[in-house]
Amino acid sequence: MARMTMREAISRALWEEMERDESVFIMGEEVGVWGGTYAVTKGFYDHFGPDRVKDTPIAETAIVGGAIGAALTGLRPVAELMTINFAFVAMDHIVNEAAKLHYMFAGQFKLPLVIRATSGGGRQLGATHSQTPDAIFAHFPGLKVVSPGTPADAKGLLKSAIRSDDPVLFIENATLYQVKGEVPEDKDYLEPLGKSKVQREGDDVTIVAYSKMVQAALQAADMLAEDGIEAEVVDLRSLRPLDMDPVIASFKRTNRAVVAEEGWRSFGVGSEVSARIYELAFDYVDAPVKRVAQAEVPLPYNADLEQLALPQVEDIYLAAKEVVYG
């Protein structure tokens, strides 16, 4: 184990997979000479060269479409979209091509493709650059959507995504890059795609979260512990395929749940997870499932207003108290 930031864990996963497999290469805006806008691919260009660390024009359709074509020839492209907000430009290729080609041609086409994108707000980037639209992408069968909440998972999940023969959208929360944690150094350390994980055990309330909200949920759990409430934190890690088993197992013990996400509440991750709790564990429900999410506004630039709109640790804490005490 080594202590490192999420940024280092992601960078390490990319580096190791490129060392391991010649067919892995990176393409995207400023991934090469610049070293990545979030410095994740710093040093890659000098080490791996311009053929494997390819700077692209600012043209998301060309990035994702080109990566799909390269993947069809058997390569394993890691296409970087600077932010998930730019994925809308490439929406057709993500939704109509990447998610469908394997099925539509009855298995003839394989897409060992990873699309990396940063998501989340809180950096005063204004409404167009601060969205957390992760749930939208989880709507489409054929695409895998993964979003880690800890440095260790970031490494293990990204390595699995790169080795996967399916197209994976790998969502990183930009405000988590500095979060530190213990990360296995094993070059074959893999975390399975489509498997949720209990990040903290507890018997009183289940907090379901993913990505940045895992960190927030763990902090809320510490606050709850001081009040004598033991929260179990279940990290979804993948939004599609969605693994409800650990959530349901936990809920059957706690009978109470909060679902936290950074994106908007309507038609979101919390909507899906809570609906499934009611479907799969209705007899165990002791209180209505609470959803913690972003206020339904385009995120404003002003820092105070922005934080007012974003879900906070305190919101999770209060929601948990509410489902426990009614």
């Binding site: 074509g69 058997g74 109509n96 091509e97 394997h102 041609f105 298995g107 996967s164 399916d166 693994d243």
Partner: protein
Amino acid sequence: MDKKDYLSLYQEMVVIRRIEERSAELYQRGKIGGFLHLYIGQEAVCAGIGSVRQAQDRIITAYRDHGWAISAGIDPKIVMAELLGKQDGCSRGKGGSMHMADVDLNFWGGHAIVGAHIPIAAGLALGDVYQKNDEAVTICMFGDGATNIGFFHEGLNLSKVWNLPVLWVCENNQYGMGTSVGRASAVSEIRQKAEGYGMRNERIEGMDVMNVRKDVSRVLDTIRKEGGPYLLEIMTYRYRGHSMGDPERYRAKEEVKKWEEEDPIGIFRRYLVAEKIATEAELDTQDDEAEKITEEAVQFAEASPNPGKDELFEHIYVEPTPIEYRGYKLEKESEEN
């Protein structure tokens, strides 16, 4: 080319024509669903390119793909089975008219979103460059209508910036659905758009298959020798509407008639007779043979079973993945078979 090659090229064009005519009929009888975009009138383009491309050259096209499927080498029986949505279709009945492919034949579909396959074609060529498949060229077809969409411009730009071996082929049939080139494109010659990307380009005549063969093989040689992309605008014409639901209010009957007199099959037939490569009687025999192949394809497709229920959950993912059906997790996981 020896006599056998000429005859088989002629037969291929007639088979494509007959398969499309039968498809129209089957569509009207409700046996083919969804959309149906016929290739009738454009046969010289796919037959010409198909007969000069090499096995390592990747073919990728838009939704008007039945002719391309046949010229790439997919058996007309399999094409017809796909049109009827049957298990023996090249996409097991899950793709339909617009989504035909055979990866073993290097035919990469069949793509239904206008222009979306253009950046994918650049990616296919990138794959060949990366893997040092030096002799391979990706041949990407699209209609004149697709050259007005962003995908086209991003794809062309990328192919030039990265010097990718792509033959961009605009099959200019002069209408994007019902809107003529003059009403939709800022320039009247599509090839001019390649100029904006500093790309070699040319406009050629596409109703004479021998002409298509000559020009395309020359351009493919240039790409193989010099690398980089090249745009060919091939002038052609579709006799039928955009799809089966097209009322065709946008063009005069005389215009269609004029082009039909320049029919690619008729032109090739006259050439073969004039050059004494084949007699009328020999070509009649080819026509009969094409008729027979078409009839057998329809019979095969009609007899092919519908895809079973299991097919619904096959090929969502390559890796085993839990699947749900109407709120219940199924025991079996979706995986390769």
